[in-house]
């Protein structure tokens, strides 16, 4: 059977650009048709910004790669019109177990909070993720949106200018040139764009190798995340077992630094390792085997004039914590509305600079969490191993030690505390929805709050009516007046009012809170909107 990731989805086809006498100018060009590039393209196309995606490949990602998608990215995908197929296909999980040496030390339940449309996490192979994004692109094309993917198009040079970016693209028919008003580089951790522009990418290198073996098996393991520290089948190293759709299981085995990577990837080496872990009698077939090393690093700035870096091209973390693709989607979520307003002439350059402020803050948070997880999983000194093992031993008997166990701090959405776009806060309102936070979901009649938010600035009045529509200095602000009485679950009140009787929230197009008050004041909204647009 041909696997999804072996089927060309956007095969090379000659474009009229290749026959043009002068390089054709595009509004936005995205390099890389991975999760982040496709999400950015869909976001732009939905808002009627013409977008061209170029990729040197013509298929979805090879192998499962990223498999764990968190709630916030699923909410972003809902806004992009493709959350549902992901959740329908994905594996939901809440339970996990931690093993140390030969024994289980404890189990956990993520205990997701009620009153959210989306679960805390789903597991889904990256190739499905990309497939559903490509299907969304096709649906937008059918609606007549200006969105195009060119496979077999390899960018070989970049010429950043003050008013555009020139690109030379190589194809099976030879090279051609185009120009872009704006360029978004989503070309991965080894970003050729970053290299061609001679930009830095510094951080911490971790001297360790990990073997990923995705196996297909119908074994009777539960849908849980199992993590082993120093198990008998992989002494002094770690191991992970996690379920994906279609009876595919992710197995991740730490191998250490001094290994022969090519030899370790061979089935005759991999299969005995897996049998030692799963049991001699368990039948499985290998779907994908890879050995990876990782670094925790980021670019000094993600914006370089008209070139914007998003996803792994801008920052890289260890896979523990599922903070790679999940943070990349938060990059495009943050960038696209800003770029749209700048392209429309409704905001200035400073708004794009806030992409740096906010997403560098997010990247640093991810790098910090990821580095800490890695230091726990792979202790770098005798004393850190002694404390790590002490935590694990204690965790079996004492609940207090379990929060110290760090097998990956799973991705949570970033709150942009201290962002220059944040407006005023009001006392008494819940901390979780403070300015800079992503809006917390809540049930709303038969639907959900988040399905009513996004893609434009909105005023949300809770027990405090707001104008249905207002033009605030050229920006259309839509009003949404809600009553907590309409939500018997009490979630809306708990998440947005706290001890207050009423509140008014100014929401950004990316569903983040810009400012909030306990009553509606037009002048205050006007001022906060100007701040959220970086107009002063």
């Amino acid at each position: 059977m041909t696997k999804i990731f072996e089927t060309p989805l956007y095969p090379y086809a000659r474009s009229s650009d290749q026959d043009a006498a002068q390089p054709v100018r595009h509004t936005v060009v995205i390099i890389g048709a991975g999760p982040v590039g496709l999400a950015a393209a869909i976001d732009l196309a939905q808002q009627d910004v013409p977008v061209l995606v170029v990729d040197d490949n013509d298929k979805v990602s090879f192998g499962s790669r990223a498999i764990c998608f968190a709630k916030r990215p699923l909410e972003i995908l809902d806004r992009l019109g493709c959350g549902q197929p992901m959740v329908d296909k994905g594996v939901l999980w809440n339970l996990g177990k931690v093993f140390f040496d030969e024994r289980q030390v404890y189990g956990f339940n993520l205990l997701p909070e009620d009153g959210h449309k989306r679960p805390a996490f789903i597991n889904l192979q990256q190739y499905y993720f990309e497939l559903y994004l490509v299907e969304r692109v096709r649906a937008l094309q059918a609606e007549g949106k200006a969105i195009e993917i060119r496979g077999g198009n390899k960018v070989v040079s970049i010429d950043p200018r003050a008013d555009h970016v020139g690109l030379t693209i190589d194809t099976a028919d030879g090279p051609y040139r185009i120009e872009a008003d704006w360029l978004i580089a989503c070309d991965g951790a080894n970003s050729p764009v970053r290299r061609m522009m001679g930009l830095d990418f510094v951080g911490r290198i971790f001297e360790d190798n990990f073997l990923i073996a995705d196996v297909k098996m119908t074994a009777d393991f539960p849908t849980e995340r199992w993590f082993w520290f120093d198990p008998p089948f992989n002494r002094n190293q770690s191991a992970l077992l996690h379920k994906q759709p279609d009876d595919v299981w992710r197995i991740d085995l730490q191998l250490g630094w001094n290994i022969d990577k090519e030899a370790e990837k061979q089935p005759e080496r991999v299969i005995p390792r897996l049998k030692a872990m799963l049991g001699e009698d368990v039948e499985f077939e290998l779907e994908w085997v890879s050995i990876y090393t990782f670094q925790c690093r980021r670019m000094e700035k993600f914006r370089h004039g008209r070139v914007l870096f998003a996803g792994d091209s801008a920052h890289q973390v260890s896979p523990f914590g599922a903070r790679g693709a999940n943070s990349g989607l938060q990059d495009s979520d943050n960038l696209v509305w800003k770029l749209k307003l700048v392209i429309d002439g409704k905001a200035g350059d400073a708004l794009l600079d806030s992409y740096d402020d906010e997403r560098i803050y997010g990247a640093d948070e991810n790098i910090l969490n990821s580095s800490r997880s890695t230091d726990f999983i792979t202790p770098k000194s005798d004393i850190s191993r002694i404390f790590r093992n002490a935590v694990l031993d204690l965790s079996e008997k004492f609940e207090f030690a379990r929060p110290f166990v760090n097998s990956g701090r799973l991705s949570v959405p970033c709150t942009y505390d201290g962002s220059p776009l944040n407006g005023p806060d009001a006392s008494g309102l819940p901390a979780r929805t403070r300015p800079g936070s992503p809006a917390a979901d809540a049930p709303l009649g038969d639907g959900w709050l988040l399905d009513r938010l996004g893609n434009r600035f909105q005023l949300v009045g809770i027990n405090s009516p707001v104008p249905a529509q207002s033009d605030v200095d050229g920006i259309l602000v839509e009003g949404l007046s809600l009553e907590t009485a309409a939500d018997p679950s009490g979630a809306l009140s708990a998440r947005y009012l706290g001890s207050a009787d009423a509140a008014v929230y100014l929401m950004r197009p990316d569903q983040h809170v810009a400012a909030r008050w306990t009553s509606f004041d037009e002048a205050a909204v006007r001022k906060a909107l100007a701040t959220a647009l970086a107009r002063h």
Partner: protein
Amino acid sequence: MTKLTTTTNITGADDFYAELLAAHEGLTKADSDALNARLILILANHIGDRAVLTEALAAAAGAGTDRKQPA
């Protein structure tokens, strides 16, 4: 503001000291190190107050530095 107690706080200091050493008696260096690590974590959790723990870390580091650099 100093919150860490650095004045005498244990009644029967000799008894406690003997109990501490007795806990390590007969252990290998590795087992002793592990016991100490578990003990630190248990005590740290009991204290709980992050400011006190930070002060305690600084106090412990400072006392060691003094010993290494005699006047």
